[in-house]
């Protein structure tokens, strides 16, 4: 038989537990309300629109072996490496369009671009920046084979980089992060190209 004091204690404890649960639930709801209210009133940063810039692209022409300037408005990121990457991707996309004068199959053309400040060593005499262009393997595999188309592609990339980033003095090419002998069987990819050799409009 349960004694009267024990019953009183039991019911008191049960009532206390229920009361504490109700209080905790209410406090949780109020905290959630405060959180939502503070979120709604938090000032939002306006979207940072990347400025649209007029970019010069040196477009290759297979029929006369020339590079001619073309102009395009692009929203470019602030970072120089990313900016160069966007510019080259658009340059190569232009070559994949119908009626291109330098046709190259559409694919991911450039993996990444790195800028390295020169001189790396004390005995180097050329100042400026070395741009390392990492081409994608799929782009290289799909590139038309021939001295003229390969040379024009390299010169187009070099001239476009040099036009938009005058500090670039040398350009080096990699394919999927590795050195490769040629672009598609002809043009030498093992050497470092001087960007100053690619003036604004240049015949091969």
């Amino acid at each position: 038989m349960i004694s009267r004091p024990q019953r009183i204690l039991f019911w008191t404890l049960l009532f206390s537990s229920v009361l504490m649960s109700v209080v905790l639930l209410r406090m949780r709801e109020r905290a959630l309300d405060r959180l939502l209210a503070s979120g709604e009133t938090m000032p939002l940063n306006p979207p940072t629109g990347t400025p649209v810039q007029n970019v010069t692209m040196m477009m290759a022409n297979d029929m006369d072996g020339s590079l001619q300037p073309g102009y395009q408005n692009l929203a470019l990121p602030v970072d120089a490496n990313a900016r160069a990457h966007v510019i080259l991707q658009h340059l190569l996309l232009n070559y994949a369009r119908p009626n291109s004068k330098h046709p190259i199959a559409a694919n991911k053309g450039v993996n990444e671009i790195f800028f390295i400040n020169l001189p790396l060593e004390a005995n180097q005499v050329l100042p400026g920046t070395l741009a390392v262009v990492d081409l994608s393997g799929s782009f290289v595999d799909a590139h038309p084979s021939g001295i003229e188309p390969e040379t024009l592609t390299l010169l187009s990339i070099i001239a476009t980089l040099h036009t938009n980033f005058p500090q670039i003095s040398q350009v080096r090419f990699l394919v999927d992060g590795q050195q490769r002998d040629t672009l598609a069987g002809h043009a030498d990819l093992t050497r470092v190209y001087l960007a100053s050799d690619s003036p604004g409009v240049k015949h091969l």
Partner: protein, 253 residues
Amino acid sequence: MLWIEERCRGLTLGLILAPLLAGAQSNTPPSTPGKVPSPPVPAEMTASPAATPPRAAARFVVVIDAAHGGADSGARLSNHLLEKDLALALSVRLRSVLGAHGIYVVTTRESDGAVPDLNRAQAANHAAAAACISLHATTSGSGVHLFTSSLTQIPMTRFLPWETAQGAYAEQSLRLSSEIDSAMRHAEIPVTLGRTALQPLDSFTCPAVVVELSPLNTAGKVTALSDPDYQDRIVATMAAAVEQWQRDWRQQP
């Protein structure tokens, strides 16, 4: 770094390089009545600058380098034509035509075999050629693309760095390119002039030009590279240019 001795292309260099020249063949052009090409000059005759005979009496040698070969097929020009095959066919025909005119020709490739760039350059340099012509083909562009090395002119020295030896011949190569350009334009074949970085061109120690053929596109009419008449025109025009170069070469000091 591998070095070559520019002026001593004779006995010493020949003995050193002889085992390495297995991939290259020098040939005697087909005999023609009254026009028998002179045999190769013994290496001793050009062993030193002091023994070098006057230019007028020197042997005029042309090196023809048919690009690619073996597993390296080059560009696919059509479903049935590869760059390596067209280059070889043109090389054989040009050799025959030049041989018929009494010009001694050295070819770097006589069959569908792989010839390393090193061997091609060694063959050309050992021949002490007055002109080196590398034959290529592509489907891009129109007419003929003439390329010379993108190396800038450097002074002629006794020793030249192997990978940039062509720099000592940059100006002569431009003159040879101009000669072929004139002949092509005279034959109404469109020409695109250019400079490029290409192996083994940059290692040639001779006036060197790369001739890249592409389909002829005139007034909307396209002549394929496989067209025999087009190939004949190209070969005849190049032979005429080489003959003109021979006349100019003999007049040079």
